[in-house]
């Protein structure tokens, strides 16, 4: 272009200029204030979309993790039956469980342990000493080769009347339903955020084209066709969209990584008190964020392309 530019636009700089993200698009008069505002809006939208996608992925992973945990454990509950000695029923039921193929471990909760479980509702163990407390047996099963739970439940009930086997199926179903609802809500939010991003691009593109109407007219008169003019505007706004997307996505990634680090240390501290079942942000969530950034770039490109072609027809 100029002599000085000739010298500077060589090597790496020339190569960078050939990449659309860094290429100058001088025919579209840049408005720094509008461009910066648009990048900010898209960055915020991308951040929200990435966090929404991350939350959906987090919920899905956690639910799946819980389902696996619940599917590998069943509980046998023995209710006291009048004067029938419950300890003998427990021994008989335990023997059957231990002798069943597919059962990996059996843990009998003592009367004290059972009373402790009821403490939050019924008060201290001494206050309920005289009450007929149901007893529990926690049974771990091989999820790959589980025993026939219906037959097992029937066999236990035969030797210990009042015993019942809970395979947590109701809980699993509820979890599945909650997980599905959360996923639908998250995907809807993601769709809305992407739609809002597209609209922001549409309005910005229309505004810029209206502001550059005279330039478009001059370009037409000097022999530019619609494709050429559209490409200039489309590239300008697609690049702005990608810039905003990358900024918002990177912030979301940093937050997710921070959550992962903080979450990991929390699991170490509180393991066994409720945190161990959480699926912390992992590579899937990072991939989801990358996907959101790509989607934002795609939405920006498509929205600006459609708007440019519609507007240019009207201006021409």
């Amino acid at each position: 272009m100029t002599n000085s530019r000739e010298h500077t636009q060589t090597g790496l700089l020339s190569y960078l200029r050939s990449i659309p993200l860094f290429r100058r698009d001088p025919l579209v008069a840049a408005d720094p204030v509008t461009d910066r505002a648009l990048i900010s809006v898209i960055a915020i939208m991308t951040f929200l979309a990435a966090m929404t996608a991350g939350a959906a992925q987090f919920a899905a992973s956690t639910t799946s993790h819980w389902q696996v945990l619940m599917a590998s454990e069943v509980t046998v509950q023995l209710k006291p039956q009048g004067n029938r000695p419950i300890e003998a029923d427990i021994v008989r039921a335990s023997d059957i469980l231990r002798g069943t193929s597919g059962v990996t471990s059996v843990k009998v909760f003592s009367r004290e342990e059972s009373s402790k479980l009821l403490e939050p509702w019924l008060g201290s163990a001494s206050a309920i000493e005289g009450l007929p407390i149901p007893r529990l047996i926690a049974v771990r099963i091989d999820a790959a080769e589980p025993p026939n739970l219906t037959a097992l439940g029937k066999a236990i009930a035969d030797v210990a009347p009042g015993a019942s086997l809970d395979d947590h199926r109701n809980w699993t179903r509820r979890l599945e339903r909650i997980s599905d609802l959360f996923m639908i809500a998250s995907l809807s939010a993601l769709f809305l955020v992407l739609a809002a991003t597209g609209l922001a691009i549409v309005f910005a593109t229309r505004g810029a084209m209206a502001g550059n109407r005279e330039i478009i007219e001059v370009l037409h008169f000097i022999g530019a066709d619609d494709r050429y003019i559209a490409a200039q505007f489309q590239r300008h706004f697609a690049v702005l969209g990608i810039r905003g997307g990358v900024i918002g996505g990177l912030i979301a990634l940093v937050l997710l990584i921070t959550l992962r680090l903080v979450g990991s240390s929390s699991v170490g501290l509180f393991d066994g008190n409720g945190f161990s079942g959480l699926a912390l942000p992992g590579s899937e969530m990072m991939l989801a964020t990358m996907l959101v950034i790509s989607l934002v770039g795609l939405v920006a490109g498509v929205a600006s392309r459609i708007t440019v072609y519609r507007t240019i027809g009207r201006l021409a």
């Binding site: 100029t2 000085s4 005279e214 001059v218 008169f221 000097i222 022999g223 530019a224 066709d225």
Partner: protein, 264 residues
Amino acid sequence: MANQICFYEKVDLSFDPHPTPTTLRKVESSLQAIANRPVGELVRFENVGLRYGVGTETLTDVSFSIEPQSFQFLTGASGTGKTTLLRLIMQALRPTRGMIALFGQDTSQLNKDGLTALRRRMGIVFQDFRLLDHLTTYENVALPLKVQGREEATYRAEVTELLHWVGLGDLMHVTPAVLSGGEKQRASIARALVAQPELLLADEPTGNVDPSLARRLLRLFVEMNRSGTAILIATHDLSLMDQIDGARRLVLADRRLYIASGHD
């Protein structure tokens, strides 16, 4: 250029119901030559009328033509439709009635690509320059070549040479904001000339400059005309028109166009 001579062979098929392949090749070649023959007139208006909205016609029954390599002025009092007529030629406006042909093509049949192709054969100098403020003089002048998809390396030298020719060699790297009215006008003229158009339309190109610069700008147009470009300059400056002997004058008055030779 439009004055290029093109030969084609006359082939008589009236007595030959079964032409040989050689004859057919001759026919095909002759038809191709006919299709490629130079256009006789660059611009042709036939009974063109233009009305804005539902009012009376701004231009009525305008008929004229512009020949290749010709030089003409379009004149008339302010408000008589000089700019409107230019806008009709550059296809910024469509006539209400009548026929406009550009480079031998009826413009009513043109699609967008066809219109773009025709505009690339024209150069336009706007009254208000219409330079892009965020581009340098060089970038503004190179724009018609850039939009044609040419690589900068292929036109850098010719744009630079043209800028020196119009006296803007030292100002090629500045934006229009720092140019004077006359410099902007010269940049605008350079932009119109850079693609070596067959027809140059100039709307009051000397309207914003002093008489001395006006004469120099006119010399530019004369030089371009000598190198083969047909020129149409819209102006109401009689002294400017007097400087070119033999130039045709298209005079707009009472919504009609009257044609006078340069000696009338």
